[in-house]
């Protein structure tokens, strides 16, 4: 049992905005009262629910590829030293698994969602997730370029496609569905891309990226998956892609969707020389469409490594930078590309990207629908989130950071005209309560009775980045894991899954199609349930989900 008394609580899920309130914890949950146990005197301190990252890349084949490609960064960066209870590791651009858990918990984040998992290597992803301590985890399976599903959509077999999606979610032991560059990654298998939403995809007669978006969003809704379709639009990073993004959301036909890393999809202009931010236009559209949530995918200046299932984009980035290029195409399902990258304030394109991410966060007016992310490690590493919080809370600090940008940036961004400053309540919404709700994890990001006792306690400081980078206490599942800047306990986190309903004959239908395309036994393909450590199955909204097979 644990009591936290006298703290100033920000709990947007319950409308609590800076009230002094005592919190009591028993059995890993928040409770109405606790008679005994340790008492933390939080007088004068700020209390948030634990952070929730809706979109990050921390485990699996692609981030592990990035680790292999960046030994020069590991050698210069932060190192974690082993102890009797802690494992050693490396921080930096692509942190190792143990370090990932320590770094997230160290700044008060207690739940993370790995955003891109192929079924074929999902076994690997789950092994890595099991090695990320402290935080709770979930992951999304990549579907929008799965050729078995694309073939069915082309044939007009919508119902079958839906069964296949449900089967794949459970085969990957995933929590939801991610769409990356619908059709474009499949085309990349022939070195092509899909840049027009209404043009047929390479290798298909009629199927278009737009129809994949329409169908997948509907499938995810009909299956009752708690998190809506997690959508990485076509033409990521390309000047003028605002038109693609707006066209994509129209293809949703009003269905719910979460737009991933929106910053990379909010550009105007015709080429790299004329590229500008269209965040204002996109935010306008977004504000009037409540079916959408998004994460910023904000960029910070500095070194990082870009990782994406968007193979064609990564090839373009390699050609632009001449730096290392990793590419891994996954049979039938998806691809992935990796290119180390340095965002420079002196580079006009990078400066526009930096401003665009912040503009979206500041111009989308409902903090329940826009969340803090950097698309780790693409825009910046997750452990730099406190710097973004500072940028959001201080217009003066933003002005300071804008001073060194190239003069040509004028008329390309609207950031200088934005005065909005986030309040603590709004910050608590975009880093915790909002993403938890979008993920459908209602026991997270919420300090109400009966909810998970994931709590962050900050010293109130003028230096905002410091305050959010170094919480005084972090409590995960009722255990104090960080105290006075030290890691005290490293409990293992849970993994959230869903088990959507699919017709019992789905496997027999799938087997011959699988055997045509893959080079392993069908039986070896799905991840076995016993391989998921501390799994917790979340309910789907569908009334049929209770009598799912297996």
């Amino acid at each position: 049992m644990l009591r936290i008394i006298g703290g100033t609580v920000y709990d947007p899920a319950n409308g609590i905005n800076g009230q002094v309130k005592d919190l009591f914890i028993d059995g890993g949950k928040l409770v109405a009262s606790a008679a005994e146990g340790r008492t933390i005197d939080a007088t004068g301190m700020v209390i948030f629910p634990g952070g929730v990252d809706v979109h990050t890349h921390v485990a699996g084949g692609s981030i592990n590829f990035a680790r292999a490609m960046t030994p020069e960064d590991h050698r210069r960066t932060q190192a974690f030293i082993r102890s009797q209870t802690r494992r050693s590791g490396i921080g930096g651009m692509a942190p190792t698994t143990f370090a990932t858990g320590y770094l997230y918990a160290g700044m008060g984040w207690t739940t993370v969602n790995e955003a891109a998992v192929p079924v074929l290597s999902a076994r690997h992803t789950h092994e890595e997730l099991a090695d990320i301590p402290i935080v709770d985890k979930s992951c999304l399976v990549l579907m929008a370029n799965n050729e078995i599903m694309l073939d069915l959509l082309e044939e007009g077999e919508y119902e079958r496609a839906k069964q296949i999606v449900a089967w794949h979610i459970w085969a990957a032991k995933a929590y939801g569905v991610k769409a990356v560059n619908p059709g474009g990654v499949a085309a990349w298998k022939w070195g092509k891309n899909a840049s027009q939403l209404t043009d047929p995809i390479e290798g298909y007669a009629t199927l278009t990226p737009g129809s994949i978006v329409t169908h997948l969003a509907r499938i995810v809704a009909e299956l009752g998956i708690p998190h809506p379709l997690h959508l990485h639009c076509n033409n990521l990073g390309v000047p003028g892609n605002i038109s693609t993004t707006l066209e994509t959301v129209k293809h949703l036909d009003g269905a719910r969707a979460h737009l991933a890393h929106l910053q990379y999809h909010a550009y105007g202009g015709d080429d790299w020389d004329t590229m500008k931010s269209e965040a204002a236009q996109l935010a306008d559209y977004f504000n009037s469409h409540p079916n959408l949530t998004t994460d910023a995918g904000a960029v910070l200046f500095g070194d990082t490594v870009t990782i994406s299932a968007d193979g064609p984009w990564q090839h373009l980035l390699y050609k632009l930078t001449g730096r290392k290029w990793g590419n891994l195409d996954v049979e039938n399902e998806t691809g992935c590309g990796i290119v180390p990258y340095t965002y420079r304030p002196s580079n006009l394109v990078n400066a526009v990207q930096w401003a665009t991410g912040l503009e979206l966060l500041l111009l989308i007016d409902d903090p329940w629908r826009v969340f803090l992310s950097t698309d780790h490690p693409n825009g910046a590493c997750f452990w730099r989130y406190p710097e973004i919080i500072q940028l959001l809370m201080s217009a003066d600090f933003r002005k300071e950071c804008m001073a060194p940008l190239p003069t040509a940036i004028k008329n390309r961004i609207t950031l200088p005209e934005i005065d909005r400053e986030y309040t603590l309540y709004e910050i608590a919404t975009i880093i915790s309560a909002g993403p938890a709700r979008a993920l459908g994890l209602h026991h997270k990001g919420n300090l109400g009775e009966g909810m998970d006792a994931d709590i962050v306690i900050y010293n109130r400081e003028d230096d905002i980045a410091r305050m959010f980078g170094h919480p005084r206490y972090v409590i995960k599942g009722g255990e104090i894991v960080i105290e006075e800047g030290d890691i005290r306990e490293t409990p293992d986190g849970r993994e959230y899954l869903v088990k959507p309903f699919y017709e019992p004959d789905t496997e027999e239908f799938l087997r011959p199609r699988f055997e045509d395309r893959y080079c392993m036994s069908f039986e070896n393909y799905p991840v076995e349930m016993e391989r998921i450590e501390r799994s917790q199955i979340q309910a789907c909204a569908s009334p049929d989900s209770s009598d799912s097979p297996q």
Partner: protein, 319 residues
């Protein structure tokens, strides 16, 4: 240079109409490779299977695999790097002299024909073996080939993949990367992982006599390493976990017999394209698995009193 442009083996099965093997002999070293993944498979995109694929073998000698190829290019020993560099130039229409080409043991016609076929392919793949990665030039050879494959993407789809073997070496590599950031050649002697092949690789540590104990799982260095390394293993307490009696187990102080993985012990094996495969035991073994032995040793060590003392939790930056 740097990076790797690759794919899973099913992509080769489904799409590769142009396949190069360089310094590898799969017919003898990966006997199921041709039939399961590459040459013999038919697919939606290559309905006639072998007839729809062109196979090129680059090697210093005519191995058994050459019989399976359409084109054999016999490169002069030690000239692989030169040949790949010439190809990289010719692909980009840069000038290369006849003397430079003659040095590789091949003719301009052969190379021009090869490049035309590479550019004309819809999906090209280059597999490379130890004949490339472990001969003169070593990692520079691998880098040159990976770069050639990356640069070919300016013309058509191209990927490259090493022909890895030796049991689950890929699995060890994958796990070391997620736990430490590095694939092999890692030192933990400062309490955090550091990487320097040539300094911290097993053979170097042993030859220098830098280790006073050795713990060996799933490998038989006593059969393959240089004599000074083997001599050092014999001198220090060496502990071997292995289902079999091996050269290493014979010189070890302790040999714990374990159940063979994949036959009598479950687990995960990573294929050479880094796809994890579940291992399901077909037989029962009276012996414990490697995993169980290591876990019990770890528990016994954890039960001992703290021997590490106070250390900082982290270094903000390494020197």
């Amino acid at each position: 240079m740097g990076g790797k442009v690759t794919c899973t083996l099913g992509e080769v099965k489904n799409r590769a109409d142009f396949i190069v093997y360089w310094g590898g002999n799969p017919a003898e070293c990966h006997p199921r490779h041709f039939t399961k993944y590459t040459l013999m498979q038919k697919s939606k995109f290559l309905p006639r299977g072998r007839k729809d694929r062109t196979v090129v073998m680059v090697d210093i000698r005519e191995t058994k695999s050459v019989k399976a190829a359409d084109i054999f290019l016999q490169v002069r020993p030690g000239k692989d790097f030169e040949l790949m560099t010439i190809l990289r130039a010719m692909v980009k229409d840069q000038e290369v002299s006849d003397e430079q080409i003659a040095e590789t043991g091949l003719t301009r016609e052969q190379l021009t024909d090869l490049i035309a076929r590479m550019k004309g392919a819809r999906f090209g793949v280059m597999f490379f073996g130890m004949g490339l990665s472990m001969t003169r030039g070593k990692h520079m050879n691998s880098a040159a080939l990976l770069t050639l494959a990356a640069e070919m993407n300016a013309f058509t789809k191209f990927v490259a993949m090493p022909m890895r073997g030796h049991g689950n070496v890929t699995g060890a590599d994958v796990i070391m990367r997620w736990q430490t950031g590095y694939p092999f050649g890692i030192s933990f002697n400062r309490g955090y992982p550091r990487y320097n092949p040539g300094e911290f690789s097993t053979v170097d540590v042993l030859v220098r006599g830098d280790t006073d104990c050795a713990f060996i799982i799933g490998a038989d260095p006593g059969a393959t390493m240089p004599q000074p390394a083997i001599d050092h293993l014999a001198k220090i307490p060496t502990i071997v976990l292995d289902p079999h009696v091996t050269h290493t187990s014979r010189l070890a102080r302790v040999h714990i017999t374990t159940a063979p993985a994949g036959i009598a012990a479950p687990g995960t094996g990573y294929r050479m394209d880094e796809i994890p495969m579940p291992l399901r035991p077909a037989l029962e073994s009276p012996y414990p698995s490697d995993e169980e032995v290591v876990r019990r040793i770890k528990e016994a060590i954890a039960a001992k009193p703290d021997w590490m003392g106070q250390q900082p939790q982290m270094l903000l930056s390494q020197i």
